[in-house]
């Protein structure tokens, strides 16, 4: 359930949407959750997302999962995972996480050289752990708070801090340096499909568990990011927090 950085495939569009969201939502009133001051706006965006995702994105991704041979799906996942590892190494370094950065850099070198440019994840077979670090987490280690929660259509749950991280990633990611625009866009597209496919499994569980999917996802996203930031050692939460 990696809440991934590759969602920025839609990032260039959504960066604009995010800033628009913040401006518009300033006008609304009565936030119930301190983490989500723009809740009315976010809920609207969530509804938009549900329609687009439910009618177009999800059926397409489901078809991809059902009809693409598994080894090909795995190869695609490995290819983008290799890019993620590079980002994880860089952002890990930015956060002063030397061991994590070292592992990820090692993974990138090994998988790129011996895994046909990242198509095969040799490093995982060799037991080198994946760091899964990103810009949002790096900003977190520098002391930046999450800031308001944002729900962005196609992109999903994020926050001002994590969203900023995604925008930075979108402008610095290696795919962006490809000179050929169609190739680049195809890669973005495949990356987005792969990422959405990863989330399909947890979805039926959320449907079963949630009283209100919007709130459930928000809480889960924020908890998960906190957990990643503190690498599993989250300072205990107050029993009553309202």
């Amino acid at each position: 359930m990696r809440i991934g950085e590759r969602r920025l495939i839609a990032g260039r569009l959504t960066a604009v949407a995010a800033s628009a969201a913040m401006l518009a939502a300033c006008a609304t009133t009565g936030p119930a959750s301190p983490a989500d001051p723009f809740e009315p706006w976010n809920r609207g965006m969530y509804e938009v997302h549900q329609v687009v995702d439910g009618h177009i994105v999800k059926p397409a991704v489901q078809a991809y999962v059902d009809y693409t041979p598994k080894p090909i799906q795995q190869t695609i996942r490995n290819f983008f995972g290799n890019i993620d590892d590079l980002v994880s190494a860089i952002t890990g370094l930015m956060s002063g996480k030397m061991e994590l950065a070292g592992h990820d850099l090692g993974r990138v070198i090994i998988n790129t050289l011996f895994g046909i440019g990242g198509l095969i994840d040799v490093a995982s077979d060799g037991g080198i752990p994946k760091g899964d670090w990103d810009f949002g987490l790096a900003f977190g280690t520098w002391g930046f708070p999450q800031g308001p929660y944002l729900f962005v259509p196609l992109l999903g749950p994020t926050t001002v801090r994590d969203g900023t991280g995604l925008v930075v990633r979108a402008y610095t990611g290696p795919v962006g340096y490809l000179p050929d625009v169609p190739t680049r866009n195809i890669l973005y597209g495949i990356g987005a499909v792969d990422l959405r496919a990863e989330a399909l499994q947890s979805e039926s569980v959320i449907d079963q568990a949630a009283l209100d999917r919007y709130t459930f996802i928000r809480r889960a996203y924020l908890q998960r990011r906190q957990y990643l930031l503190y690498e599993g050692k989250v300072p205990p939460e107050k029993e009553d927090q309202q």
Binding site: G232, E239, Q242
Partner: protein
């Protein structure tokens, strides 16, 4: 106390105990119950063919007795728990239990030969509140951490929280519960839970 003496005492205690399980260490309990449930899922033809009712039956009989649902409900309610009457608390607990059991059942149907790595327990032997850590190893995917918050009550260990990849399945409900209470009071929450569970609230 040396390990040998402690082991000897533990063996003695186990022999004297009313029930062996009452003396079982929390990590051993998690391991035994998970393996039992996963074995059942793998070997039961009805479950393999996707029989939800049978899965729930297994969950009820094997898993549920090891959870402290009242504590889970109180945790999910936060400060609203104390606003509820004993009768309301009872109904909340029963509805929340149903919801949790169904959610787990649904999650377990996705179980496909994944291996579980049980981490050694790092806690004071006299502790009454521990975290048991496990990791689900998936082929070609990053592992998922599942931690169980466990408390010793009347000599037996019971789980009061399940944290999957940093997301607590109990406290994750806190926002939703307080939202419901704000909207329709505690009875409103009970009604929503009952409707979600398909019981139809009265």
């Amino acid at each position: 106390m040396s390990m040998a003496i402690r082991a000897g005492l533990a063996a003695l205690a186990a022999a004297l105990a009313f029930s062996v399980h009452a003396q079982e260490a929390p990590d051993a309990l998690v391991k035994r119950v998970s393996q039992d449930v996963l074995e059942t899922i793998k070997s039961d033809p009805k479950i393999q063919s996707g029989d939800q009712a049978r899965i729930r039956e297994v969950m009820e009989s094997k898993l549920a007795p090891n959870f402290d649902f009242e504590r889970m409900t109180a945790l999910a309610m936060g400060r609203n728990w104390r606003q509820a009457t004993p009768e309301q608390q009872k109904r909340l607990t029963s509805e929340f239990k149903t919801l949790l059991v169904r959610t787990y059942s649904g999650a377990l149907t996705q179980y496909r030969d994944q291996k579980i790595d049980y981490k050694p327990l790092r806690a004071d032997p006299n502790a009454n509140d521990v975290i048991v850590r496990t990791e689900v190893i998936r082929q070609g995917q990053p592992p998922v951490q599942i931690d169980y918050g466990m408390e010793k009550k009347d000599g037996a260990w019971k789980a009061y929280d399940v944290v999957v990849g940093g997301v607590s399945l109990v406290t994750n409900y806190r926002d939703e519960f307080s939202e419901q209470v704000r909207g329709g009071g505690i009875d409103g929450l009970i009604k929503t839970l009952a409707t979600k569970n398909g019981g139809g609230a009265k």
